[in-house]
């Protein structure tokens, strides 16, 4: 495992993603969601919205790094809010 060069932030990041996937699976099994249309221009299931949210967050972080000198947690905060909005009304 040494060669993978783990650090605390990346470890937390991947554990977070893994937990998110497990949570989504459990949620879907307990109360199945259906595809629907929100403000996004296509019909999406919960998983689709999660993917869109995550991808948008990744780009959000890159945008902040490219255009500003602000610390990264600002982007993280905005992305969490955006994620909730996409999941709920997307």
């Amino acid at each position: 495992m040494g060669w993978m060069a783990w650090t605390l932030p990346t470890a937390l990041f991947f554990v977070g993603i893994a937990l998110l996937l497990v949570a989504m699976t459990v949620w879907q099994t307990v109360s199945p969601g259906h595809e629907r249309k929100g403000f996004l221009p296509l019909t999406t299931s919960r998983g689709d919205r999660l993917f869109i949210g995550l991808l948008a967050s990744a780009y959000g972080h890159l945008l902040l790094l490219a255009l500003t000198d602000w610390p990264l947690w600002i982007a993280t905060g905005v992305c969490v809010v955006g994620m909730v909005i996409i999941m709920k009304w997307g």
Partner: protein
């Protein structure tokens, strides 16, 4: 309508295990590397987002990204229609079938560095056929010094190399159309265009999706052929994303920076492919 059955997961499990082993572990490693300055696994320093900021501020990324999009667009616009035309022109039976299949697939089988070498030689005006012909009919063609010629050569090389892939996929898709469809069309006296539009094209949709996506993804990570042919030049006229990645990072064995560039690169491909894929499969549900 497909049946809902979670037991189907057992059929997918081997693929999942295999790809997870060779994709997830390396991907995690790349993410780990991207936030550190690494000399070897034991000598490393946490640098946070420094690599990302540096790469995003580098104008070379934007340049080669733009060039890459134009290139991939050209590739798709030329190769997909040409591939369909070639597939439709294939003989349907007789000796012509195996002969043209084999001849068509020849360019696909040439190792990529040799592809570059072939075009490098054939485009030279002193010892190559094409370069000599172009120059003797009075065109001042030189792919090593003229950016426009270099572009054209790389593009024609790509068309030569990969159109067969589109053609082969479409041909096998055409073969999976039952004869009764054609018989029905003949009884209805359908025109060739109608046969293509209403029988062949709908059946080609699946393979065409594969062909378009494959050509897009592969042209987006093209490396070996232009590297051998032009070395990215003249200047940076044919330096595409993969080569920028290699130049910027692997050349200096700068692992952290390479990893950060890789992830940005991957995110770009991911977004574009997702948009493509969603757009092309979206009307599936409507039939």
């Amino acid at each position: 309508m497909k049946t809902y059955n979670n037991k189907a997961w057992w059929l997918v499990l081997p693929v999942f295990a295999l790809v997870a082993f060779s994709a997830i572990i390396p991907m995690m490693t790349v993410v780990n590397y991207s936030i550190q300055d690494i000399f070897d696994p034991n000598t490393r320093y946490f640098v946070g987002t420094e690599w990302y900021r540096e790469i995003l501020a580098d104008p070379r990324l934007l340049d080669s990204l733009l060039r890459q999009f134009v290139y991939s667009l050209c590739v798709l616009v030329i190769e997909v229609p040409l591939g369909i035309i070639v597939a439709l022109s294939m003989p349907r039976r007789g000796l012509g079938v195996p002969v043209s299949l084999i001849l068509l697939s020849l360019p696909l089988l040439v190792p990529w560095n040799v592809v570059g070498t072939i075009w490098q030689i054939i485009g030279r005006e002193d010892i190559g056929l094409y370069g000599w012909i172009l120059n003797s009919i009075g065109l001042d063609y030189n792919y090593a010094s003229n950016p426009r010629d270099a572009w054209a050569t790389v593009l024609i090389m790509d068309v030569w190399h990969w159109t067969s892939l589109v053609a082969l996929l479409c041909y096998s898709g055409l073969r999976s159309i039952p004869d009764v469809y054609y018989q029905a069309a003949r009884i209805d006296r359908a025109s060739h265009w109608a046969v293509f539009r209403f029988i062949q094209l709908p059946k080609l949709k699946n393979v065409l999706l594969i062909a378009v996506m494959l050509r897009f993804m592969d042209s987006f990570m093209i490396y070996t052929e232009p590297f051998v042919l032009t070395g990215g030049g003249p200047g940076t006229a044919t330096t595409f994303l993969s080569q920028t990645l290699t130049q910027m990072a692997l050349g200096q064995f700068d692992l952290g920076r390479a990893a950060a560039f890789s992830l940005i690169y991957f995110l770009i491909i991911l977004l574009v492919t997702w948009v493509f894929y969603t757009a092309m499969t979206h009307n599936d549900d409507k039939g």
